[in-house]
């Protein structure tokens, strides 16, 4: 609905200007009236036809302090009256400008009324409901009578004016404020905000039964900023930043099943193995709200049947299929990681290369392939570790003495033919030098086999 426009402005604003004009006219009329004979009484001055202030019985007995001798109606030129000093009561605000007779009149001694406070003389528009101390809320010294420090005073009630309420007109909450009626004002949010509640359809508060305790979700600043207490179902990780409808479709905010699968049934259905293996629908057993990845499956108690879940890992693992590895993964692997599989070699005494061809090929110290090592790994290695490989060359020591540090090829020049060897290809064993050392050896020949026959441990003597 558009605001009603009058003379190009909202009707209320037009009315305000009209009222201002009306008051101007009224002021002119009143001021003109005064000039035409309405002679006002000056504050604290006197007017003969009003008669004396009554009572006079508390006045000093010397009339001459106030009156001139010629007439009771004549007040001395130097007459002054300080109400605070001479009556013990300071006149504040509008009282300063009031004529004496407004209080000191024929109603009776003013002290009877003054002792009752403001309501002794002034009508109490609050009908006694707010007490007798008007100055608690009203500024007596101000020209007007509007409440003072309204925000601070309101803070002493059950309903401090917070947020939007601090800039709201009094009559918006207290429809009787203009006539002093503040009684029985509700502090229930919805009693004033029923319209806001009716308009709250995303989500639809009424349907959900959210018709009270607005403060649990909303601050008193702006309805659009809601901080719903969702602690019963933490909105973190993948649940953060979602629109309410992502979970609460169809405005179903009541009794929503908090089980993961209630919302994530499709995820469950499409997840690998979950259906076929009848995984638990309590997703939290393996997953967190941070994401489906990185599931933490608790294998506690699961000792068999790994392949039921891990067939793909089995199929893609090196050699497992080709070598016909057992599908009882637990024989080699733990639940911590596929890495570090512990294969029991018990009973396996041959055929290492079926599994360890890669290790054979990759070995460089010595290079098994180029050196023509056999693939019977068990000849040198055990099943504990490759590093513990042992090579029996004890008959002809090569790890110490003169032959230490030589490469295999130095003595076994034909790759893979380790039965063949040469002793005389070394420069120290030249024909002339060797012959000169063996001139008295019977049956000596300059041949490697002859060397070995006489020097089977490589020693000279």
């Amino acid at each position: 609905m558009q605001p009603r426009i009058v003379f190009g402005m909202p009707r209320a604003h037009a009315a305000i200007l009209s009222l201002a004009l009306a008051l101007g006219l009224l002021a002119c009329a009143i001021d003109g009236g005064k000039r035409n004979g309405w002679d006002p009484v000056e504050p604290q001055q006197w007017q003969a036809e009003r008669g004396p202030v009554v009572p006079h019985d508390t006045f000093p007995s010397d009339c001459g302090l106030c009156h001139e001798g010629s007439s009771w109606h004549a007040i001395r030129d130097d007459f002054s009256f300080d109400h605070a000093r001479q009556a013990g009561l300071a006149l504040v605000g509008a009282h300063q400008n009031a004529e004496c007779l407004r209080c000191h009149n024929d109603r009776g001694p003013v002290e009877i009324f003054a002792q009752r406070g403001c309501i002794g003389c002034h009508e109490d528009v609050h009908q006694g409901g707010l007490g007798a101390t008007c100055v608690d809320c009203h500024d007596e010294a101000a020209t007007d009578w509007r409440p003072k420090a309204a925000i601070a005073e309101h803070a002493t009630t059950r309903f401090p004016l917070v947020g939007a309420h601090a800039s709201t007109a009094c009559w918006a909450c207290h429809p009787g404020a203009q006539v002093g009626n503040f009684a029985n004002t509700t502090t229930n949010c919805v009693d004033c905000h029923a319209k806001d509640l009716a308009l709250a359809v995303e989500p639809d508060h009424a349907i959900q039964g959210w018709t009270d305790s607005c403060q649990r979700c909303h601050l008193p600043t702006d309805w659009s900023r809601a901080g719903f207490d969702h602690r019963f179902f933490s909105l973190q990780g993948g649940h953060s930043g979602l629109s309410c409808n992502a979970c609460h479709s169809g405005n179903d905010f009541g009794g929503l099943d908090s089980a993961c699968v209630a919302c994530h049934a499709d995820d469950y259905q499409s997840a690998r193995n979950h259906v076929t293996l009848n995984y638990s629908t309590d997703c939290t057993q393996c997953h967190t709200v941070q994401g489906w990845k990185g599931a933490n499956f608790a294998h506690t108690g699961i000792v068999t049947g790994c392949i039921a879940c891990h067939a793909s890992e089995y199929n893609s693992a090196p050699d497992h299929v080709s070598q016909g590895y057992s599908t009882e993964c637990g024989k080699c692997h733990t639940v911590n990681s596929w890495q570090g599989g512990n294969f029991p070699h018990t009973g396996i005494v041959t055929g290492c290369n079926r599994c360890h061809a890669d290790e054979y090929a990759a070995t460089t110290q010595p290079n098994h392939a180029t050196s023509g090592f056999g693939t019977s790994c068990e000849q040198c290695h055990n099943t504990r570790t490759w590093g513990d490989g042992t090579f029996d060359h004890s008959e002809f020591p090569i790890f110490n003495g003169h032959h230490a540090g030589l490469s295999c090829q130095d003595c076994h020049p034909v790759p893979g033919a380790f039965r063949q060897f040469t002793c005389i290809s070394c420069h120290e064993h030249s024909l002339r030098t060797t012959n000169s050392h063996h001139n008295r050896v019977q049956g000596y020949t300059y041949q490697s086999s002859a060397c070995y026959n006489c020097h089977p441990n490589g020693q000279g003597d």
Binding site: L19, A20, L65, V125, A141, T168, A183, D222
Partner: protein
């Protein structure tokens, strides 16, 4: 050691330092009021405006003052601030130059013949009889003798609020008058009119218009004729629209009321009429009421009294409310004032929510003890329930609210002055309702004459604990007067946290800079401005207002 010797010594010293051509005039207090005393010497005895006076108190201490008004045979003395007031008969003295007329004789104790400052008596002595007092009390001109005259005030006011953050606007403009036509019919009565035409507008930002609201109305608060109720007319009659005079708690009435005051100060009366609704439209003629009341005064000044009133109402012809209002006022001493009132509804079988029987709908008690003029403590207690009534007196409430709602309060406040220019205030209040409870409190100090003679600076710390929010606050407000223009400027801040909030940040800060300016335009015209700039968490608003008022 008693103080008397010091006082006597001071008097002697004063005399010893008096110049040789000065003379001491002895005076005596004849009457006293406030911080003023009257003495039995005047200009005929050499006293003049501005002379300093010393009094010897009964305790022997000294009180000082200054002569402000002087007649031939008496003078008014304003006591210095914080001076004790001498009792009647106390003696004192004034040192005046010997050259003043009458001073020398007065100094010697020779008062001479008092001058005559009024015309000679024209009344023959034989016209007096023995029953006629020589000095008749002064009576006011009787109401019937007074000329008819119109007095009152008229105003234009406007208050507007613009909240940019929330896109909210409010406006209220009004023109009104509160006037009294005195003695229009020659019977001493008064015709009173209190009315206001206003327009209100609110626009709480929305494009669909659901939150746009404005209305323009004329509100009639008073239109009544009242006669009697004066010292010589114990019967008082009111007719028209008026606040009930006998028992204001019974509310506004379109009808008539009669009250009678006894010689002892007690009162009784009755009223009948319709009760306008307590909303700006003042709808009437739906709630008929009849009421009677009696107030017993234990003394003619009505310092101690108890009262009871009974009101029966009918809403659209249907029996509605049986209400008893009880109240008591007591003033056991000058320092102690006690006041209590209770509203008791008597329900019957037609009241389906409350059930039959009496229930205390509202009660208030307040007591104030002011042992010295500058210090005191106050205590108040209150309890309030929602009555089950048919009349539209407040926004409709749920039956559960009417049945269960009860708000209790207890508060204690105190104030004291420190020196001549500092006042300390403190108050604490505890409240509870059917669902919650809390404590509010504040402590503050007001420093007077900090900038100028009529300036003040008030600083207050506050803590508020409401149903939905709680937090500390602070307020600073300065006032001063420039010529005849009053200016005040203040700053207040609150830091609230919201209770039960499910979100992460429940803290809200709000700050407000506010001020007022009261400008008297002439003897009859006043103009007042108010302004408030509030900022804070999701708060950005301006409030401005003015009041243009004329008195006539």
């Amino acid at each position: 050691m008693k103080a008397f010797p010091y006082g006597a010594l001071a008097i002697l010293l004063l005399g010893s330092f008096a110049r040789a051509d000065d003379v001491r005039i002895e005076i005596r207090v004849t009457s006293a009021a406030g911080s003023t005393v009257y003495v039995d010497r005047g200009s005929a005895n050499g006293l003049a405006d501005g002379d300093r006076v010393q009094f010897r108190l009964d305790s022997g201490a000294i009180a000082n003052g200054t002569i402000r008004n002087v007649s031939a045979n008496s003078a008014r003395v304003e006591l210095d601030p914080l001076s004790a007031r001498p009792s009647l008969g106390s003696r004192g003295e004034v040192v005046v130059p010997d050259s003043r007329p009458g001073a020398s004789q007065a100094g010697r104790g020779d008062l001479g013949k008092p001058p005559v400052d009024h015309p000679p008596w024209t009344q023959a002595p034989e016209s007096w009889d023995k029953d006629r007092p020589l000095l008749a009390p002064a009576f006011a001109i009787t109401p019937e003798e007074r000329e008819s005259r119109l007095f009152g005030r008229a105003w234009l006011r406007y208050d507007g609020t613009w909240d940019a953050q929330g896109d909210r606007n409010y406006g209220l403009a009004a023109v009104g008058t509160d006037m009294t036509l005195e003695n229009p019919f020659g019977d001493g009565g008064a015709l009173r009119l209190d009315a206001e035409a206003f327009t209100r507008m609110s626009d709480v930002g929305s494009d669909d218009g659901l939150y746009q609201y404005d209305d323009t109305r004329v509100r009639l608060d008073r239109f009544s004729y009242q006669v009697g109720g004066t010292v010589d007319r114990p019967n008082q009659f009111l007719v028209g629209r008026f606040m009930q005079a006998g028992v204001p708690e019974l509310g506004l009435l379109d009808g008539g009321e009669w009250n009678h005051r006894t010689d002892g100060g007690s009162e009784f009366g009755a009223s009948v009429g319709w009760m306008p609704e307590p909303f700006p439209d003042r709808m009437s003629f739906q709630d008929l009421q009849a009421a009677i009341h009696y107030r017993h005064a234990f003394d003619v000044k009505r310092q101690n009294s108890v009262g009871i009133a009974y009101q029966n109402t009918w809403h659209d012809g249907e029996q509605d409310r049986n209400l008893f209002v009880l109240d008591a006022e007591a003033r056991p001493s000058e320092e102690l004032s006690l006041r209590a009132a209770a509203w008791v509804d008597l329900y019957d079988s037609a009241d389906t929510i409350k059930g039959s029987g009496p229930e205390l709908t509202q009660a208030r008690f307040s007591g104030t003890w002011t042992p010295t003029p500058g210090a005191g403590v106050g205590l108040f207690l209150s309890e309030q329930r929602i009555p089950e009534i048919l009349r539209d007196e407040f926004l409709a409430r749920r039956a559960d609210d009417v049945r269960n709602s009860v708000v209790d309060r207890i508060g204690l406040n105190g104030w004291t002055t420190v020196g001549q220019r500092t006042r300390l205030d403190a108050r604490i209040e505890q409240w509870s309702d059917e669902a919650d409870d809390g404590v509010n409190g504040e402590i503050g100090a007001t420093f007077s004459e900090l900038f100028g003679a009529r300036s003040s600076l008030a600083a207050t710390l506050q803590y508020a604990d409401g149903s939905y929010s709680s937090g500390p606050g602070a307020r600073l407000q300065a006032r001063d007067t420039f010529g005849s223009t009053n200016v005040s400027l203040g700053l207040q801040s609150f830091w609230f946290s919201q209770k039960d909030y499910g979100g992460e940040d429940d803290q809200l800060a709000q700050h407000s800079l506010f001020g007022t300016v009261d400008v008297p335009l002439s003897d009859h015209w006043d103009l007042s401005f108010v302004g408030d700039r509030s900022i804070g968490d999701e708060l950005d608003s301006w409030t401005v207002g003015f009041l243009l008022q004329t008195r006539f």
